[in-house]
């Protein structure tokens, strides 16, 4: 979207933010089409329909833009998860809703998902580190389950990291195998996987049965 002609109606800040979002989306789409390595700044600029200078006003390099794309996707998906979770009363229902919102985001945003869950792993040290941090962002949400678990104090220290890692791995596999459309249907399996360690298999199954 170009600023309207004549009088400037949008704040400088709004335009700047919007431009960044557009560039980030262009990087994700190009990455999905040709793989991150092959993407050039020229590709991103063309896809976003902006001037090369505008790109460099916002980002110092393709790598810098990639990291911003990861931040953008993590921020957005986390916001959706928190919003969905907040609408529910108890931890169990919040986890189900949050996970559902996450899978929906992944399936609604195939380019961002591929960029941040698959390509991020091979896009260099900084991107890999960002990926690790993004997994970490989901840990505290699960960790609350310890308060609702009979054996919350005895659960392995690394449990949440392992569960989040397992969920991301399953999603990664579906994307790599070209089965991204199946991602939302994974919800019952993944809910079961995430809840069982806290509330036991039978209660987890009751939660899954309601889906």
């Amino acid at each position: 979207m170009r600023p309207p002609p004549g009088r400037q109606r949008l704040s400088r800040e709004f335009i700047a933010r919007h431009q960044r979002a557009r560039i980030v989306a262009a990087l994700a789409e190009e990455t999905m089409d040709r793989g991150y390595r092959a993407v050039t700044v020229a590709d991103i600029v063309r896809r976003a329909g902006i001037a090369r200078n505008t790109f460099y006003d916002n980002f110092s390099s393709k790598e810098d833009c990639f990291l911003a794309t990861q931040d953008f996707a993590v921020e957005e998906s986390l916001a959706r998860v928190l919003e969905a979770a907040a609408a529910e009363e108890d931890w169990e229902a919040r986890t189900v809703a949050g996970l559902g919102a996450f899978l929906k985001y992944v399936s609604d945003e195939p380019a961002l998902a591929r960029t941040c869950i698959v390509e991020a792993l091979s896009a260099g040290d900084a991107a890999q580190e960002r990926y690790e941090q993004s997994l970490q962002a989901f840990v505290p949400l699960l960790r609350k389950g310890r308060e609702h678990s009979e054996h919350g104090d005895d659960l392995p220290e690394t449990l949440e990291e392992t569960i989040v890692g397992g969920i991301f791995w399953v999603i990664y596999q579906r994307i790599v195998l070209g089965e991204a459309e199946r991602i939302e249907s994974l919800l019952p399996d993944l809910v079961d996987f995430a809840l069982t360690p806290y509330i036991g298999a039978e209660s987890a199954q009751r939660a899954t049965a309601r889906l």
């Binding site: 690394t158 890692g165 991301f168 791995w169």
Partner: protein, 228 residues
């Protein structure tokens, strides 16, 4: 000077051991084979130092103490050498896991032993651990495909745990249970390696065993086995 494999530095698996420099009077077949292993070990050292992207053929040949020409007699380029290194490491890992798993009578003890063998190997070979579990992902699509396939090879060990379980237990296991368990385990191990804590990997054993066994045997029994 004669070469005795027993003199190889203990921290390297036998096939990655160094051939001492100088004249050695060994059969050519052995030398050729050994050169290849040296190049693989050289690549692992270079990658540990500079990462896959930063590693050059010159780095590999310097670490391996062989000539550039020798490198090209064995490999077309860095990528091919990396694939060979990756395959060697994952093969080693699989053999150790298999041996540890097979040595136990009970499935759950086998899983514990298998995870233990994996952690011990990776902790004792931090360079190789990094190569196989972190650098592999940046080494191009061919290696990434092998990485994915290699992770999947651990799925059947867990699937064997379904055997003979009551219907109630089987009903709550899903098609992706094993995939998620293996993925969770690999992800946790990789994170520790990225954080430079490869040498402390063995401390994850109880957590990983409990996590992995719980869906099959219940959390109490899983915790019992995990604590040994």
């Amino acid at each position: 000077m004669s070469y005795d494999p027993a003199d190889a530095p203990a921290e390297y698996p036998p096939e990655l051991s160094r051939l001492p420099p100088g004249r050695h009077g060994l059969p050519r077949d052995f030398v050729v084979h050994n050169q290849r292993e040296r190049l693989i070990a050289g690549l692992a050292e270079a990658v540990a130092e500079k990462g896959y992207g930063g590693t050059t053929i010159a780095d590999i040949t310097r670490h391996a103490a062989v000539s550039r020409r020798t490198f090209y007699e064995h490999f077309e380029g860095k990528d091919e050498c990396f694939v060979a290194a990756f395959d060697t490491v994952t093969e080693q890992l699989r053999e150790r896991v298999e041996a540890a798993y097979e040595a136990e009578d009970e499935w759950s003890d086998g899983i514990r032993a298998g995870i233990g063998a994996m952690l011990t190997f990776l902790a004792s070979e931090p360079n190789l651990a990094r190569l196989a579990m972190v650098e592999a992902l940046v080494a191009g699509p061919v290696v990434v495909e092998r990485y994915d396939a290699s992770v999947q090879t651990f799925v059947p060990y867990l699937e064997a745990g379904r055997e003979g379980r009551p219907k109630k237990v089987l009903a709550r296991l899903s098609d992706s249970t094993e995939e998620a368990l293996v993925g969770g385990m690999v992800s946790l191990i990789s994170r520790r390696i990225v954080a430079g804590q490869a040498e402390e990997l063995e401390s994850l054993l109880p957590d990983l065993v409990e996590f992995t066994l719980a869906p099959y045997v219940g959390s109490d029994e899983a915790a019992r086995v995990a604590r040994g």
